[in-house]
Amino acid sequence: MTDKSDGEVTHALEENDAVTHGGQVSHLYNRDVQAWVRKAANRGIYDIRGMGAKRKVPHFDDLVFLTASASRYPLEGYREKCETRTVLGGRNAKKPLELDTPVTIAGMSFGSLSANVKEALGRGASAVGTSTTTGDGGMTDEERRSSKMLVYQCLPSRYGFNPDDLRRADAVEVVIGQGAKPGGGGMLLGQKISERVASMRTLPAGIDQRSASRHPDWTGPDDLTIKLEELREITDWELPIYVKIGATRVENDVKLAVKAGADVVVVDGMQGGTAATQDVYIEHAGIPTLAAVVQANAALEELDVKGEVQLVVSGGIRTGADVAKAIALGADAVSIGQAVLLALGCNDHVWYKDGKTPISAVEDYEKLGTKPGVCHHMQTGRCPVGITTQDPELEKRVDPEWGAKRVRNYLQVLNMEVATLARACGKSDVHHLEREDLVALTIESAAMAKVPLAGTDWIPGVTGF
């Protein structure tokens, strides 16, 4: 609501106005709200932006591990092996995905991202033995070539969806919803609809594209069962099938996905990112990832399919600590999107020419009415560091080889951090992390995560009030 990129002039109240002018700043109509109302009145259309929810909500940061001491025996941090291997999709598929790490790359489209970035993601992920995911707009040859394991999304829009790419995928992800905009479809504004993107999506170049929010060929969960069977029949029951949901009514949705036959359920919390959608969706729809993982795990436990159906969690996963806490709460793996774009230089003040020489991008941020560190203008296609763009010149700002190394390094650090915490908890496998290893620092996070408030045995809503 504080975005002034449309050049609007505001005469905001200063902090001391209440004293010097006898006024009182309203909490309800504070300066940000007043600016937003004026902007809405000026433009006549809602804000569209990228990234995920920016509001503060209970998060994995509000949890800490009770690592080993006298009552638990730790593994030697630098010598003893801690397994990070992760297998996804063995429930019905002949060829489950075998990953070397529980961290995967989330679905992000060619169109929202440049071809160079998709290639860097593929090469970086492959270097650490994990998977990448296509997005709304289909599969590019570059990402197929660069990704050792590629998950092919089946989205409501079905842009570029075809049987040849389906058969050359390693898994299929049927996307019902996304954490940034559960219940809504994607957007790609005209400035990012290049000739190539338009061709892949069978759309006129330059139009403001609105993706569908419902699948075209099925509606309810009973139909989803039949849809998943169709995909299995087409792929001869070889590929794992994921079902991705935006975190809203998580327990019900996870149960329905399992009943429909999903091998893997992906739950994307409200902090999950997007390249472009309405701001009102991003900030006001869905539940935090912390709450979502607990509800999803409870649904799998109730159906007695833990170990049979895998849970992948996404939405605001940034560090190895986040990964470890998600696993301890019941996830088998996580997916990351925004964080890996940050690893590639998103919101940095420089980009690296030929992957070497730093060049200031500050002026280009200013042209967008923003600055490094707070930019969320992915929808413009004018990404100052060349990530969320289709502009041939801007795209050159990410060198695929440089980018691949950054992605590899970042994923490697996450994997090392997860293993470090697991060893300290006395686990020889990161998947042995459990809820009993965690306590909460706030009452809200204790209630959501269903772990005790630190220093107590109180779990709000479970033990006592």
Partner: protein, 236 residues
């Protein structure tokens, strides 16, 4: 024609004895080794997923009523259902022909990229939803929200169309012979051109319908929703 059929290497597959999963596996892999040109599928009894994911220039004859997703993602094959079919027949069709002698349920030909879908009788709602280059010819009526968000290709309706026809259309074109109950957002009726007459005549001939192109009206996108516009905020 009859001699041609007899000269082909034909195969009969009885679904009451060998289920759909085995059938599709045969169609995807072993059929090519057997050099089969025609497969007659007996006793479909409403089964789903018959002949999905085909990628061979063969004829598939389904001898009775079929369920969901018949001919889904078809490439090259000519599939005929001698009966009616359920939801999403020929969804995501890429090429070839899928023909249904009877009626079809919802979402016929959804999201197809190429090829032809022919429904001899009526199609239910959302026929041609999200189509991306395929052609659909319906001998009877279509239900509401047909050709919703259709991007490319042609939907030919020889009967009437229900509410919301062509809502949020992109570049697909609809031809309707009967009445249109209502048009969807951004869809508009336009004059038929000589090119329309030629395209429509070709589609009707391929589908086997003997109607005059002059009796059809054209519905296409007004293209007012192609770019964000505050005057259209309720339609986004």
């Amino acid at each position: 024609m009859e001699q041609e059929v007899r000269s082909r290497k034909a195969l009969e597959w009885d679904l009451s004895e060998s289920p759909v999963r085995q059938l599709n596996n045969y169609l995807h892999h072993e059929m090519a080794q057997d050099d089969v040109e025609e497969v007659r599928i007996l006793n479909p009894d409403g089964a789903h997923h018959i002949a999905v994911g085909m990628d061979a220039p063969v004829r598939v004859e389904v001898m009775g009523n079929a369920g969901y997703y018949i001919g889904g993602m078809n490439k090259q094959a000519e599939i005929t259902v001698h009966g009616s079919a359920g939801w999403s027949v020929a969804e995501n069709i890429m090429s070839g022909v899928v023909r249904i002698d009877g009626y079809v349920s919802e979402c016929a030909g959804a999201s197809g990229h190429g090829g032809l879908v022919v429904v001899e009788k009526d199609a239910s709602s959302r026929c041609g939803i999200s189509m991306k280059g395929n052609d659909i010819v319906v001998g009877g009526d279509v239900g509401h929200f047909s050709a919703f968000m259709a991007q490319k290709g042609h939907l030919v309706v020889c009967g009437d169309a229900g509410d919301g026809l062509g809502d949020s259309l992109y570049e697909a074109v609809i031809y309707v012979r009967g009445e249109v109950k209502s048009l969807g957002a951004d869809a508009q009726e336009e004059p038929m051109t000589g090119e329309d007459h030629a395209t429509l005549a070709g589609l009707l001939e391929r589908a086997g319908f003997d109607h005059r192109p002059e009796d059809f009206k054209r519905v296409a996108s007004a293209r007012k929703l192609y770019h964000w516009n505050s005057e259209h905020d309720q339609e986004y």
